[in-house]
Symmetry: C2
Subunit: 236 residues, 2 copies
DNA sequence: CGCCCAGTTGAGGACACTCAATAGCGGTGG
DNA sequence: CCACCGCTATTGAGTGTCCTCAACTGGGCG
């Protein structure tokens, strides 16, 4: 269990009006006029892979919108082993617990280089009083998180190692359509799937031998999606 | 895959003012005056064990507060096997997805006899416009659900069969402190823990032999909590 | 009374885990 | 520039757990 120092590059502040993911961002429903209120404190940061966004137990003063990259949420069992309970990607929201004044319930750690919007809780609260639409938007975030959690449980903790790995790879293509799939460290994959690093390694090696996955460049994969889908569903 | 007919006993309508779990219920924060608005449409129903509250895919027009009993949320994998993704108990909220106009994402099925408040979505929406406090309350519900989901993943899908069963039994005592623990069918237990019915059966039998659990009456257990805790943490 | 379903138990095998040794890769320093 | 170190990934052998298939038991209910 090692700690990675936070390395943050400040991109400077920007206006949400110009944000590339505005349509899927937290303030999507607000009318133009509202943006006047919030152009100051929102900050846009970049995290390197394996940098820590926040730690479990920290009292949060911000929620985050993930603009680019992948973030893992990590829980630790009593015996010290870690379990990755969810993966967040483009346009997902992190740290909603802060809105309720609660400490963050996981470690949030970047799996790839990430761009992240930092939104102070105070700002959301201020807007929340006037904008009942924001409430709807927030609930949608919660709901999405919950749906992902359920799916995670159903797909990535059930079935053989081959099935789990196949499902995870397919999930990763869905998460970033068109882009090539990043291949994570075996330890992370194991923690996501409830498997040991050795088992994951063997499984990946076998998928490679049978040409269902191919490494196009450094830690980037091309998938045989139909083939993997057959495996994921247990038809192989 | 069999279907169980809904058996519903209508208790008649009642005023939330008198509700026994009002302090933990959805409208906890509303001032007295607000109750005038909502004494009509909230209904209080009773479900027998294994009755269906709602089915996955149904377009929901109500959210539910569980006043008494246990409810399972069931998802079905592509191959038809079922997985119980969460258990709900006293004062939990179900079907929040209906507030977003979405279909329910699971089957909700009573595991014990249940008392459940049915709250029309229209009512929540109506109140939501005036009461920003309600928004906070709703988010708290979402958050609790998510925390449970994460815990579920970490505790009940990891470790040996003995550990999982022990953790689930301990969870059940937490969920209803003081009361005796209900022992579910082996099939349900398996679906909760990602194990087969046979494995669960063997494990339960072994726990019984080693006196860590004892059947006090029909499907009711007394637990050796310290002993089970040792197993749950892997110290046995 | 006998059926039916749920639970139990057994035998055998498959799969994933453990422990351990090796191979590859990147970075550092001589 | 190359040798060395450390870390990650890979591979192997052996073991243990859980799954599968199957037979049997017992209680509840028609």
């Amino acid at each position: 269990m090692k700690t990675v120092p936070i390395r943050v590059a400040w991109l400077g502040e920007r206006d949400c009006r110009d944000c590339a993911i505005r349509s899927s961002a937290l303030f999507a429903g607000l009318q133009e006029v509202d943006f006047g209120e919030l152009h100051q404190p929102i900050e846009d940061i970049v995290l390197d892979s394996s940098a820590v966004l926040y730690r479990m137990g920290e009292r949060g003063r911000a929620v985050f919108t993930l603009r680019r990259g992948l973030v893992k949420l990590v829980k630790y069992l009593p015996d010290g082993t870690q379990r990755i309970v969810r993966l967040l990607h483009h346009s997902d929201t992190l740290g909603l617990e802060a809105l309720l004044g609660q400490p963050y319930p996981h470690d949030a750690i970047a799996l790839t280089r990430c761009e992240i919007c930092t939104i102070p809780v105070s700002l959301v609260e201020r807007l929340g009083h006037e904008q009942s639409h924001l409430c709807q938007e927030l609930m949608t975030r919660w709901q999405r998180a919950l749906a992902e959690a359920d799916r995670w449980l159903a797909e990535f903790s059930t079935g053989t190692a081959r099935q789990r790995v196949a499902r995870l790879l397919l999930w990763l293509t869905e998460a970033a359509p068109g882009e090539s799939v990043p291949l994570f460290g075996r330890e992370d994959l194991g923690a996501m799937l409830g498997l040991t690093t050795e088992t994951v390694s063997r499984t990946i090696a076998e998928l490679r031998r049978t040409r269902l996955i191919q490494e196009t460049s450094h830690h980037q994969l091309a998938l045989d999606q139909p083939g993997l889908r057959r495996i994921a569903e247990g038809m192989a």
